[in-house]
Amino acid sequence: MSKSYYQPEDLLKFGSINEWNPELGKKFFDYYQSVFKKGTLSEREKSLIALAVAHTIQCPYCIDAYTTDGLERGIEKEEMMEAIHVAGAIRGGASLVHTVQAMNIYNKLSM
């Protein structure tokens, strides 16, 4: 076994977290399943949102899961990339918008 904190096969063991707290685990998984069901948004749209969020939180399990999920749903790589750029833009924007704060402080303190 290669030494790494993340093992791809561990993704399939996600359900085993229930062993240490079945009550909360069940609530979580029920909620999770309901979230991804077709609602006002389609399952396809939700899959793309999940992929973008997965990149924002940089979770390798979620990236694996939602790239595969997208493939299974016939989502194309161009669509995936656009969604991930949305995540990138929001992330980059969130850094940059704080520049205003830096500018405020800079201006206030400067003569």
Binding site: R44, T68, L71, E72, R73, G74
Partner: protein, 352 residues
Amino acid sequence: MSTKKSLKAQNNVLSDAKKQLQLLSNSIFLSGQLPTFSQKLQSHKLPSIKPKQLEILQLNIGYMCNQVCAHCHVDAGPDRKEKMSKPTMSQCLQVAHKHKIKTLDITGGAPEMHPDFRWFIKEAKAAEIPEIIIRSNLTILRANKKYYDLPDFFKEHQLHIISSLPFYRRGKTDRQRGDGVFNKSIEALQKLNEVGYGLQGTGLEIDLVYNPLGAYLPRGQEELEEEYKHALREDFGIEFNNLYCITNLPISRFLDFLVASGNFEGYMTKLVNAFNPSTVGNLMCTNTISVSYDGYLYDCDFNQMLELNVSSKSNHISNFEMDALQNRNVCISQHCYGCTAGAGSSCQGTVV
């Protein structure tokens, strides 16, 4: 990803059915890492698979095809010459007529390339089979002038057409089925629409089949159908009836791809983990018998390719005995996991 020659013409070891079955039984299944299909059924307290009433006779009338798709489970191609003889075709029709079979499902290869195709359809109509399905790859309708009138022929005989179109955009389709396949398929669909196929009120049905382009499973048949309908209508003015999602079974050329790309174990694990016990009662092998070009009987087209003959003394169209066949057990192996994953998979798409 489309190949130029069949595995058989390349002398690839996986053109040998026994080698395929060995591969499917060894490795991860032998070591106990994954349960065999039979163990899986037992662990769900499901008995062996038994047929229900026979409704569909699926005839593979030959392995010749104008395409050499990368995922083809038949290993079909222009270099395959096997084809059903006229006497065998007639025997199939006698059986279908005698046992009041509802549906004749004609597949290949490209069944339209069989030299006696039109004769056979006329005979089948004369035998009053209620429904005749043709599994047409679409491009054959535009491959040569001699096929240009097939849409009219289909219409005249009220044939139900089921066709593969791996995606509603060019890139993915051509990667799976070969360059130019998408454009030709679109042209063929437009011709079928012109004579009334896929249009409301005509009763002429054209269904499309989607299967994944790689080592992953299909999902979301309904949403994908909406996507296909929307995209094909907007971009090309094309109408069709239903979209069927089909899982690629780990046999023949797709098995070769899985092994060569290092995806075999991962794909089998996915299939096993996605096992859905509620698909078992509705599997294709419970209401279908598949007949090979040389008249032998199989539980399905996949078992035909793996040379797993029906386990019954009635094992050829010339000695077809309904009672003996109804009492058989379906032959299973690990490829069957492809039919039971998720919402299940059959020649008519999902099963639950």
